[in-house]
């Protein structure tokens, strides 16, 4: 241990049972090589005479219990390197039980609502069943998920919009894990829509913070959305994707007023008349759609892709 180096940890403290509002306490902690955030919390709890509340179990990125926010980024305390100056706060989007311990139960319920168990209806053809690595590939990537809910903590759909109908990325990973399993026969489209999957804003914050390196957006959420789109009648949002695609086929590019009118219907689009007029005045809306040139090639490719499916 170096005698000079230290870590300054500003830790969120709050006991909702006895305190009206959160406060922060700053601790100077001797720095040790390879120190993790969890070590800093351990040191503060053991040596600073304060009972900082935090949760952990395994200490090796398996149990998923030690999610916290460090300098604004949701991370696992056991895996994140300690830096000289840290603000340590609870995971966002979840009620605080005490200090850094949050109540994940609402999101755990969302996971259960996604019914993440393999559903088999037909009898097994043989035993053992033939299954290749390639069959399994998509589902396999998601089996690394440790259910730490760090991705859900990073999601702006809760943080900014407080849109609680959304199941959140962690629960959608659990859904995708079974939906992408080659032997699953459950109605996963219905569940994805129940989890309001189209509230996802495609910002990649979930992929960015995942401690086990799952590309949550592309390998789980987007693959579920593709399945929803294949059943276009299933929801207005899946229909919207179809309308978008038809517009590209028609004009090569998107004409926003037409996209809105076809997606929302003429009547609902009329509510945007004032905005539309302002935009026309500023040259920001064209009444007649313009086309890309090269439309023959673009349309041909639509047909070719459909044919070679």
């Amino acid at each position: 241990m170096s005698s000079r180096e230290s870590v300054s940890a500003k830790i969120f403290r709050y006991d909702p049972a006895t305190e009206n509002s959160p406060r922060y306490e700053t601790f100077e902690i001797p720095f040790e090589k390879e120190m993790r955030v969890l070590d800093v919390l351990d040191y503060a709890a053991e040596n600073c005479g304060v009972g900082v509340g935090y949760r952990w179990f395994c200490g090796v990125k398996r149990c998923g219990m030690c999610g916290v926010t460090v300098n604004g980024k949701p991370v696992l305390a056991c895996w994140e390197k300690a830096t000289p100056s840290m603000v340590i706060e609870p995971l966002p989007n979840m009620p605080v039980i005490r200090d850094l311990v949050v109540d994940r139960s609402a999101f755990e319920r969302s996971t259960l609502d996604m019914e993440p168990c393999l559903e088999r209806r037909k009898p097994y053809e043989t035993f053992p069943e033939p299954l290749t690595h390639t069959d399994f590939e998509d589902a396999f990537k998601l089996m690394n998920c440790i259910e730490c809910y760090v991705c859900t903590g990073a999601c702006p759909v809760f943080a900014d919009a407080d849109h609680r109908q959304f199941a959140g990325p962690a629960s959608l990973v659990q859904l995708a894990k079974v939906a992408l399993h080659p032997k699953d026969e459950g109605d996963r489209v219905a569940l994805a829509l129940k989890g309001d999957i189209y509230a996802c804003v495609s910002c990649y914050q979930c992929s960015n913070v995942c401690p086990v390196g799952i590309d949550v957006l592309e390998d789980a959420i987007e693959k579920l959305k593709r399945r929803c789109a294949a059943h276009a009648a299933a929801s207005p949002e899946a229909r919207h994707a179809r309308i978008f695609s038809d517009l590209v086929r028609q004009f090569g590019r998107i004409h926003p007023p037409t996209l809105m009118r076809r997606t929302r219907g003429l009547l609902a689009s009329m509510r945007k008349t004032l905005l539309a007029l302002t935009m026309v005045r500023r040259g920001k809306a064209q009444i007649v759609p313009g086309s890309a040139s090269g439309m023959d090639e673009i349309r041909k490719l639509f047909d070719v892709v459909e044919k070679n499916k």
Binding site: C203, E222, G252, K300
Partner: protein, 293 residues
């Protein structure tokens, strides 16, 4: 420097001022842009979320067209950037997929080879031209102007395919603002989401996100906010009053495109940059830098 220029649908419809100012800035900097006029939409999120083969094929066509011109692609839209970079990356790494997509392209007499790079104008300015060379071109320093950088999700994340900036503490746009003589405003929202991609389907959610971003920048006392993507611009400018209302607040924050801000520093005329093409008027910004429209 020569590029195949991909403006994207938005710069050709909702944000024509972006396309116009980009071309004006390119002329000033001696960047030769040849527009990919026959290219299709990159598919935003909707096409990639619904028809993967079509998403790959249409973007492979755009890349193949640029290859034929022997040029790298430059775009002014973060979402187009990510789509093109990602398709390029996947087709380069996966020979089987490349063969499949090339089979589609062969029907229109094109082949994708993986020979061109895809870049964003922000990257060109800082990586290809370079901060030092660019600084020499600034004839009208924007002293005293407080600019909120707004990066946009798809120029930062996913980091492994984009790789230019750090998604957790990005600096490139801040650097550019400083280089222009203006002051980058520090605020939490700069790397967060504007909500655009659900604006059509879930307007309530989208507007709450853009509303939060506007108020964060406004609380940090920004004179204006600069975007690298016309989609962010759309949720922050035309939808500004509706977005602020979701937080029961008012906003009056001019939203400027990156080429427009740069153009001011390069000494271009506000009308050449189409600074009158926004819903929230740019006049306060021009007053601050002692220019009138």
């Amino acid at each position: 420097m020569k590029f195949a220029y991909y403006p994207g649908c938005s710069a050709k419809s909702t944000c024509p001022e972006l396309d116009i100012s980009m071309k004006a800035v390119a002329r000033k900097l001696g960047l030769e842009l040849t527009e990919l006029e026959v290219a299709a939409c990159t598919g935003a999120r909707q096409l990639r979320d619904s028809n993967e083969a079509l998403f790959l094929t249409l973007n492979a066509r755009t890349l193949a067209l640029a290859e034929k011109m022997e040029r790298n692609v430059v775009t002014v839209c973060a979402t187009c950037l990510l789509n093109l970079v990602e398709v390029n990356d996947r087709l380069r790494r996966d020979a089987e997929l490349r063969t499949k997509i090339n089979k589609n392209l062969s029907e229109i007499g094109l082949q994708y080879r993986g020979e061109c790079e895809v870049t964003h104008i922000l990257w060109v300015l800082l990586r290809d031209i370079g901060a030092e060379a660019l600084a020499k071109r600034i004839v009208r320093p924007l002293h005293g102007l407080r600019v909120a950088p707004f990066y946009g999700c798809h120029i930062l994340r996913p980091k492994d395919v984009l790789g230019f900036d750090d998604p957790d503490s990005p600096t490139s746009l801040d650097t550019l603002i400083r280089l222009l003589g203006a002051e980058p405003v520090a605020y939490d929202g700069k790397k967060r989401c504007c909500g655009f991609h659900v604006l059509m389907e879930k307007e309530g959610v989208a507007l709450k996100l853009s509303g939060r971003r506007l108020l964060e920048a406004q609380e940090a006392k920004a004179d204006c906010l600069v975007t690298t993507c016309p989609l962010c611009h759309t949720s922050l400018d035309p939808y500004q009053s509706a977005a602020a209302r979701t937080s029961g607040a008012k906003a009056d924050l001019p939203i400027i495109h990156l080429p427009q801000l740069l153009g001011l520093g390069l000494g271009l005329d506000p009308t050449e940059l189409r600074l009158d093409g926004h819903v929230v008027p740019m006049a306060p910004v021009l007053e601050k830098i002692a220019l009138s429209a």
